[in-house]
């Protein structure tokens, strides 16, 4: 087990190099970022050349990458175009995004799995159809609209929440977290439902019932535990998407988080910002996936890692 974890940690190195190189290349392929810096006109050629020199954009790509990685290992992630160090940007963006992700994942686990169990046990009943309907709404109505309507209703009509996030505390992030989690909730609910429905008739559950175990014990200990693997896998893959892809949610609720900064960095083609943020995100994916794989073994003792 310990060796397995160690091996997985070592595998992070090639992924880290591969991902940063890929992102570095992609941002550079987008073209010349300096053109977008002078407003609705062309920068005069001398200033443009000078800016390129300052950002190191006049060097060959491989040299830029090597210099950049060298700096990264000394903790210098470069500066954004507005002169702000990327580390500073990350220090403000990541904490709030991590909190937002925690809220979203919490909702996915609590609401998603609960609804999944209920609908899985009561397939075809009204509650199942009701949840299916909600799922359809969540999938086909854009987050933008859900967020906007919740803001108007809860924030302005009923005064339950502040419509925008200012300090990024957990209580401010409840509604944004719910909006962010909505589509994933649909996945988690249906995944749980299907697994539950499938395992409900399996032999070990029948046995457990036959042994006279109380219903809730059968559900939580036997049924749920064995149904969770797809759900855990999904949530594991979702964490990265929630952290880096919350562009719409973060914009609507005024959260200056990772998704928003990453989006701005990409639009302005700021290599340093984009690669810096993605680098940290890659590490998050790697750790999340490692945890998921370890959870497999916890949920299903037959799975062992050597």
């Amino acid at each position: 087990m310990g060796r397995y974890v160690l091996r997985r940690l070592l595998q992070m190195i090639p992924v880290f190099v591969g991902a940063t190189m890929l992102i570095f290349l992609m941002v550079n392929v987008m073209g010349d970022p300096v053109a977008g810096l002078c407003g609705e006109q062309s920068c005069d050629p001398a200033t443009a050349a000078q800016l390129k020199r300052e950002f190191g954009l006049d060097k060959p790509l491989w040299q830029q990458y090597v210099t950049y990685m060298g700096n990264v290992f000394t903790g210098d992630f470069g500066t954004a175009f507005n002169g702000q160090p990327v580390t500073e940007l990350m220090a403000t963006a990541f904490p709030v995004t991590i909190r937002l992700t925690i809220v979203a994942v919490f909702f996915e686990i609590v609401i998603g799995i609960t609804l999944g169990v209920v609908t899985g046990l009561r397939r075809g009943r009204p509650v199942d159809s009701g949840v299916l309907l909600a799922t359809l709404v969540v999938i086909s109505v854009p987050t933008f609209v859900t967020g906007l309507l919740l803001q108007l209703l809860l924030g302005i009509r009923w005064h339950w929440i502040r419509p925008s996030v200012r300090y990024g505390t957990f209580d401010e992030l409840i509604v944004p977290g719910l909006v962010l989690a909505s589509v994933s909730l649909a996945y988690v609910t249906r995944l749980t439902r299907t697994s539950i429905a499938e395992n409900k008739r399996s032999d070990y559950v029948r046995t457990a019932i036959a042994k006279g175990l109380p219903r809730h014990r059968v559900v939580t200990r036997h049924l749920l535990r064995n149904s969770l693997i797809p759900v855990v896998t999904f949530i594991g893959t979702d964490i990265g998407a929630l952290m880096g892809g919350a562009i719409v949610t973060e914009r609507i609720f005024n959260i200056h988080g990772v998704g928003y900064q990453l989006y701005q960095g990409i639009l302005r083609q700021n290599t340093q910002t984009v690669v810096g943020f993605v680098t940290v995100l890659v590490l998050v994916f790697l750790v999340a996936n490692l945890l998921v794989d370890l959870l497999y073994a916890v949920l299903d003792p037959r799975i062992r890692y050597a």
Binding site: A35, T47, L51, Q151, P163, R251, I252
Partner: protein
């Protein structure tokens, strides 16, 4: 809206929370303790560049600089007319050599006296290639610019030879060409004076800029907020009528608008287009919609033969006549745009060169004539018109689609015109810079200073910095040169208008509409107005 009962509570909460976070030293929103009293909060966007005056070329950074700097001239927030501010006088006999005398008694907010040197040093800094200032080209009229900012190679001088300090209160400016409007450009923020600390401790200055305007920056958290306190020692007549302004960075203008409705914000100076239909019901009378010095046009690639051939002007004029401007400004923009009938802006006023109707029939919607003109001119090159725009900002898609639908309806072909989005603004600019446009593209121009010259020369003069379509016309260039050399303002404006008629006859660019500034505010505020640059006139706002 009931929400406004909560404003006072919210302001108190903000102040308290700010105080708490500044003590706790938090990770993002810190700073700005103790800004109680008549302080208003206003929506803001993250400035794209460090807040140096000669490096700020967008409205969000400009908003701050407008509060913390005053220059030789100031543009009247209502008329846009340039008035002497720090300048006691700016005199010239030949429109080339200017003598500037500055008023006594002005200081920076850190106490330093403002002298002729404060200006000359600042301008030299702004012009110097070494400092990467994006507005450096503003100093391009000054003698010696080609030495400190050569088009290629290294600079051969550090200071502009055209600037000479005579004494503490006087300096002279020599231009490399005649430009009678030059003094009127000096209200632009790039020409602001700079304190010594800007040069001696630049990093500290950029973290918390020091200027000479009615406000001083009390705290600044990049990417989050800035608190500007009224500067009590401000010597000018336009001192602040409130105690301060908190600028809050919003990720989206719609969020700012929602916060305004909820009573968490006092002023939003960018109402999202989608909410314009609701402002009446949401805000009642607390909504302003006033002209700004911005014009939207459609430009053409003249480096593409198809658009530069004889007869193509008929196609361009036909396209102009196929656009139902009134309907689009009413429906899509809800009257926050006004159909354009010339190539300038109403904020110039009649004396400044604005001439409604100069475009004549070429800007009137007339589908039948439009169709005929386009056919006479040989039809749309390539059979289909693709109007290129950048998709990442400004929600251009809506009006481009509306323009295309209008053209399509006029031509009776629902695929004659389509929008052609480009992913990023940088990519859009790249394509323009590298002459890769194959069809018309959107062009917007926000004036730097309220002069007719600024609406014509940078956009249509041969080789000018914002002449994106590379239009070139000898008659136009000659008229502009003549107008610039003219010392009498009225004559100068008249000659510029002649030049504008050349633009019209060739339909160098299709004028679409004049853009307004729009803003909404809470019931705590009064005397809210937008200046011709669509920036709120903060110092005049009263709170409570």
């Amino acid at each position: 809206m009931r929400g406004f009962a909560h404003v006072r509570w919210a302001a108190g909460a903000v102040a308290t929370a700010l105080a708490i976070t500044s003590c706790g030293g938090g990770w993002g929103w810190g700073g700005g303790g103790g800004n109680g009293g008549a302080v208003l909060s206003s929506s803001w966007g993250d400035p794209q560049n460090p807040l140096e005056p000669a490096n700020t070329n967008e409205v969000q950074g400009g908003k701050v600089l407008d509060m913390i700097f005053r220059g030789l001239k100031k543009y009247d927030p209502r008329t846009g007319r340039a008035q002497d501010w720090l300048a006691r006088s700016i005199v010239t006999r030949d429109s080339r050599h200017f003598t500037v005398r500055i008023k006594d008694g002005w200081t920076f907010s850190d106490g330093e006296r403002i002298t002729a040197r404060s200006f000359v040093d600042a301008w030299n800094y702004g012009a110097s290639l070494r400092n990467n200032q994006k507005n450096a080209y503003f100093f391009g009229y000054i003698d010696g610019y080609d030495q400190v900012h050569p088009d290629s190679g290294t600079q051969r001088a550090d200071t502009l030879s055209g600037l000479k300090v005579l004494d503490d209160r006087t300096f002279t400016v020599t231009l490399n060409q005649k430009f009678s409007g030059f003094p009127d450009t000096l209200g632009y923020v790039a020409f602001a004076p700079l304190p010594r600390v800007f040069f001696t401790d630049h990093a500290a200055w950029v973290r918390k800029p020091v200027g000479n305007g009615p406000y001083a920056i009390a705290s600044y958290t990049k990417g989050a907020q800035m608190y500007l306190r009224k500067w009590d020692g401000y010597p000018g007549p336009d001192s602040a009528r409130n105690d301060g302004v908190t600028l809050l960075v919003y990720t989206d203008s719609n969020t700012a608008y929602t916060d305004l409705l909820a009573g968490n914000l006092d002023l939003v100076d960018d109402i999202p287009a989608a909410q314009l239909k609701n402002v009446g019901g949401d805000l009642g009378g607390r909504y302003i919609n006033s002209p700004a010095g911005i014009i939207q046009t459609i430009a053409f690639p003249y480096y593409d033969k198809a658009w530069n051939r004889p007869g193509a002007e008929k196609v361009r004029t036909g396209l102009s006549m196929a656009i139902n401007r009134r309907q689009i400004t009413d429906t899509i923009f809800r009257k926050t745009r006004t159909p354009a009938t010339d190539w300038t802006s109403p904020v110039l006023g009649a004396d400044g060169g604005f001439k409604p109707g100069l475009c004549g029939a070429a800007c009137d919607y007339d589908p039948a004539r439009a169709k005929k003109l386009i056919e006479d001119g040989g039809g749309i090159p390539g059979g289909r018109l693709r109007i290129t725009y950048n998709a990442d900002s400004g929600s251009h898609k809506e009006w481009i689609d509306a323009v295309c639908n209008s053209i399509n309806n006029a031509l009776g072909n629902d695929k004659a015109c389509v929008g052609n989005p480009v992913g990023t603004f940088a990519d859009f600019r790249n394509r323009i810079g590298q002459h890769k446009m194959t069809g018309p593209f959107r062009a917007g121009w926000q004036m730097d200073y309220p002069l007719i010259q600024n609406f014509l020369q940078p956009l249509y003069y041969t080789g000018a910095s914002s002449n994106d379509g590379k239009w070139s016309n000898g008659d136009f260039d000659r008229l502009v040169d003549r107008a610039n050399a003219e010392t009498r303002p009225a004559t100068s404006v008249a000659v510029f208008q002649q030049a504008e008629k050349v633009v019209r006859d060739n339909m160098a660019a299709i004028p679409l509409w004049y853009q307004n500034g729009s803003a909404g505010y809470s019931d705590r505020l009064s005397d809210v107005a937008l200046n011709p640059f669509s920036v709120p006139v903060y110092n005049e706002i009263k709170v409570g």
